[in-house]
């Protein structure tokens, strides 16, 4: 092959350029620590990397959610323990009050119970990170407050909302103990509507409910089918004389059932399946739980059960007031406080359970993050030792070719012709 001068220099430059490009790439990889600096470095790896980065960030958010939930759960536990210890104090005060030797000054016990009541009320209204712990999901107001005449304690909000937190891509954890769960005051409606009934069909149900002083009232519920899977609910509360406690009848609510599984899905377009009913003038305030009402082909009679026995606040108010007037607590009242004590111990166990679940979820998430980070590193990270050796190699090649070029390129016959 004939070798011309231009060939030597262009061939040299071409090869030099390749070595320089390789070196530059290796330098970039080593200095960024990443094999993928632009999508074209590894298009499939880039898609994988973006996906892994997103998963890691998402898992970190879940972990953050779990941490927040754990601290919320911790505070819930502390407050429930405080309430429980006050309930124990109340129980011992009541026992002492019934003791004949100290029977003389019941007011002391009334004071003790009043102080416990206030402490329980404080705990019931405690907050965590701006959220009322026992306020369900309604943080617009304190969940519990004394009535204007200080004669009774009222629920001010619908405190039955469940706070649930997404702790992984497909699981949701309930983290709160709702005020309703803990302190009761629930009227539960059960039964099945006939799904085949024609529009306009009316179904009635009624129950006894009590005000804070223990007076009985009649709660009358009237359901009218307005369309398929849709019912309109009207209610009224009547005292012993048969007069309504409402000066104007309360507005009707619309109940919607799922067309396939026939469960209640919404009340007035909200997914909360309980309705807060109150009449401040009569100190009546309770939640009507409709979650067990359903539609079906085998209709069952509607029954409403009032479960107001766990209303610790008004029980304590009644005991305090009676002690002040010289009456000892009745056995039923003592039993009610004791029942509440077992109830709160149950709930403490439930909260402990939630805490365990959150902790194990936290461990899972930590393990998951480790796996994801490992995968990310496989896709992205540079084997630095390998890269440095490669770089050294390329550098040697470069040095050698430069040296050879310096020796050979300028030499021609010219150099040897002496004049």
């Amino acid at each position: 092959m004939r070798i011309s001068d231009a060939m030597m220099s262009s061939g040299f430059l071409y090869n030099l350029n390749i070595t320089r490009t390789n070196e530059d790439k290796l330098r970039e990889e080593i200095s960024t620590g990443s094999k993928i600096n632009t999508p074209s470095d590894d298009p499939a790896g880039t898609a994988k990397l973006l996906n892994l980065n997103n998963q890691i960030a998402q898992t970190n958010v879940y972990a953050q959610n779990v941490q927040d939930s754990l601290s919320f759960n911790q505070e819930t536990n502390t407050e429930m323990e405080n309430i429980q210890s006050e309930v124990v104090n109340v129980m011992s005060s009541m026992t002492s009050a019934q003791n004949a030797t100290v029977n003389g000054n019941l007011n002391t016990f009334a004071d003790q119970i009043d102080s416990s009541l206030n402490l329980i009320l404080d705990s019931a209204n405690s907050q965590s990170n701006g959220k009322y712990i026992f306020g369900g999901t309604d943080f617009s107001n304190k969940p519990y407050a004394l009535s204007s005449d200080s004669k009774s304690v009222l629920t001010q909000v619908n405190n039955s909302g469940v706070q649930s937190v997404r702790v992984s891509s497909n699981s949701v954890q309930k983290i709160n103990i709702t005020g309703t769960e803990l302190f009761g005051t629930i009227v539960k409606q059960t039964g099945t509507f006939d799904s085949a009934a024609s529009n306009g069909t009316v179904t009635n149900s009624s129950s006894k409910v009590y005000d804070n002083a223990g007076n009985a009232y009649d709660l009358n519920l009237t359901y009218t089918k307005t369309a398929t899977d849709t019912y309109s609910l009207n209610y009224d509360i009547k005292d012993s004389t048969g007069a309504s406690v409402f000066s104007t009848p309360p507005a009707a609510s619309t109940l919607k059932f799922d067309p396939t599984n026939k469960q209640l899905v919404s009340i007035d377009n909200s997914s909360n399946t309980s309705l807060n009913i109150k009449s401040p003038t009569n100190n009546i305030n309770f939640n009507l739980d409709l979650s067990s009402v359903q539609e079906g082909t085998t209709p069952q009679a509607l029954t409403a059960t009032a479960n107001q026995t766990t209303d610790i606040f008004n029980t304590l108010v009644a005991i305090r007031d009676e002690l002040r007037s010289g009456t000892l607590p009745t056995d039923a009242q003592v039993q009610a406080v004791s029942d509440f004590n077992s109830h709160i111990l149950d709930k403490l166990a439930a909260a402990g359970n939630t805490s365990d679940q959150l902790s194990s979820t936290n461990d899972l998430l930590t393990a998951h993050t480790a796996v994801l980070t490992g995968m990310e590193s496989q896709v992205q990270s540079v084997d630095v030792a390998q890269a440095v050796i490669d770089l050294q190699n390329q550098d040697n090649v470069l040095q050698q070719s430069l040296k050879v070029a310096a020796t050979i390129l300028p030499k021609t016959l010219m150099d040897y012709i002496t004049t």
Binding site: Q58, N158, R166
Partner: protein, 452 residues
């Protein structure tokens, strides 16, 4: 046969070797000119004389001076040129497009969209937190800024391509004019039976340049005039040179001739420009539009079903005002007051169901069975693949180009060694011829002295 013929032969050879030295010096002078083809002096014997029954050699003469050129390699180079220039232009432009997305990084759309969804996930836990509401808003703002930056960067690249195309087509027109003029000059020499080596080199250089721009065909007639067409459209011959311009018809860029005939390009620098201008960038923008239109409408649909924590509470509120051509506009009412962010499904301030639902959108198959982020990362990965394959093509065609250039240089390039040894040879021959003149002179002197 006379003494005079010795003078004759030696004087002629002096002239011949002087010319040969001139050619060699011209070769050496052009040794670094990549477009130069080395020239060769073809020496031959002068027509002999017949005298006294013998044939007497009459010395040397120059038959012609030819350029050493291999038309096969030229054709190979011209067919590889458009592939090489197309892939290197494509690699550069795809690199710009790739850079517009700034992936993979913390400031890319992928991370920012993920941050957006994660901010809702956090808000779902503490829906009444002002800080978390602000976080949702600022993550939406970051996302909106990045989308608009990517979009405008792509649009800018596209309009730069158009400017570039116009310049390149201007050069193309100049080159065509030049080929036509060179054709005319070459014709004058060839019709007189001469070989205009340097003009031929010049024309080859311009044709090489043209072959980089697009798929051209070149044919030569008997007088060595080149006729060129580009993308099937007549470009130039000895008499005429066509003039081209760039037209943008509904976003499709084409190269059209004076008579409004479109060149059908399938390779070359111009093809990379028109293809990326007409297809690649519009497709990328369309995918972005699809992702963000779906994103906007889905987030809005869920957000509308939520209730905010204003007093009195409001519902049926859009989170995003609109998405249009890269501009993702957040509802100004929400920007002014984050309490308008509506995440409650039952109206209570602690309910974050709607925020959780918005966060869930990130894992839902919203576009052809793919999630928003998957659709986006497929786009980035596709662009990466195109850039990568352009890069590989650059490497491959550059290697071929280098090999062809070596072949060409091996055949047509100047070797200074060779020229120097020629010079030495011509110089010796010149010296010998000069000596011969001296010998003839001395013979004549001797004769004259004798006679006297």
């Amino acid at each position: 046969m006379s003494l005079g013929s010795i003078f004759d032969i030696s004087t002629r050879s002096l002239g011949v070797y002087q010319s040969a030295l001139e050619v060699a010096s011209n070769n050496i002078a052009n040794s670094a000119n990549p477009d130069y083809s080395r020239q060769q002096v073809n020496l031959t014997t002068e027509t002999p004389n017949v005298a006294g029954g013998f044939v007497w050699g009459a010395g040397i003469k120059i038959e012609d001076i030819t350029r050493v050129r291999d038309s096969f390699t030229d054709n190979q180079i011209r067919s590889n040129n458009p592939k090489n220039s197309e892939s290197s232009n494509r690699s550069e432009l795809m690199g710009q497009i790739e850079d517009s997305f700034s992936e993979p990084s913390d400031s890319g759309i992928s991370t920012l969209m993920n941050n957006f969804f994660n901010s809702w996930q956090q808000l779902a836990v503490t829906p009444n937190s002002t800080a978390l509401r602000q976080n949702v808003l600022s993550s939406a703002e970051s996302l909106s800024n990045q989308v608009s930056s990517v979009y405008s960067s792509l649009t800018q690249t596209r309009s730069d391509i158009m400017t570039d195309l116009k310049t390149k087509v201007g050069t193309l027109n100049d080159d065509l004019k030049q080929v036509q003029q060179l054709n005319a000059q070459i014709f004058q020499f060839t019709s007189a039976g001469q070989s205009p080596n340097d003009l031929l080199d010049q024309r080859d250089k311009v044709i090489d340049d043209l072959s980089k721009m697009g798929n051209i065909t070149v044919s030569y007639d008997n007088n060595n005039s080149a006729t060129i067409s580009i993308g099937g459209v007549f470009a130039c011959d000895k008499e005429n040179a066509n003039q081209f311009s760039v037209s943008d018809n509904n976003g499709q860029a084409t190269i059209v001739s004076k008579n409004n005939v479109s060149a059908v390009l399938n390779s070359g620098d111009l093809f990379a420009d028109t293809d990326i201008y007409s297809n690649e960038i519009p497709n990328d923008l369309a995918t972005l539009d699809q992702v963000f239109s779906t994103f906007t409408s889905q987030v809005n649909a869920v957000h509308q079903s939520g209730t905010n924590i204003e007093n009195p509470s409001g519902t049926n509120i859009n989170f995003f005002d609109s998405y249009n051509n890269g501009v993702l506009k957040i509802n100004p009412a929400i920007v002014a007051d984050t309490n308008k962010i509506a995440v409650s499904s039952d109206g209570t301030s602690g309910n974050g169901d709607i925020a959780a639902k918005i966060a869930d959108l990130s894992s839902q198959p919203l576009i052809n069975g793919q999630t928003l982020q998957d659709t986006y990362s497929s786009l980035v990965s596709q662009i990466g693949t195109k850039k990568q394959s352009a890069d590989q093509s650059v490497t491959a065609t550059s290697l071929i180009q280098q090999q062809l250039a070596t072949q060409k240089s091996s055949y047509s390039g100047v070797s200074v060694d060779e020229e120097m040894s020629n010079i030495l040879m011509y110089q010796r021959s010149y010296e010998a011829s000069a000596k011969l003149v001296q010998v003839a002179n001395e013979c004549l002197q001797t004769l004259l002295t004798t006679v006297t």
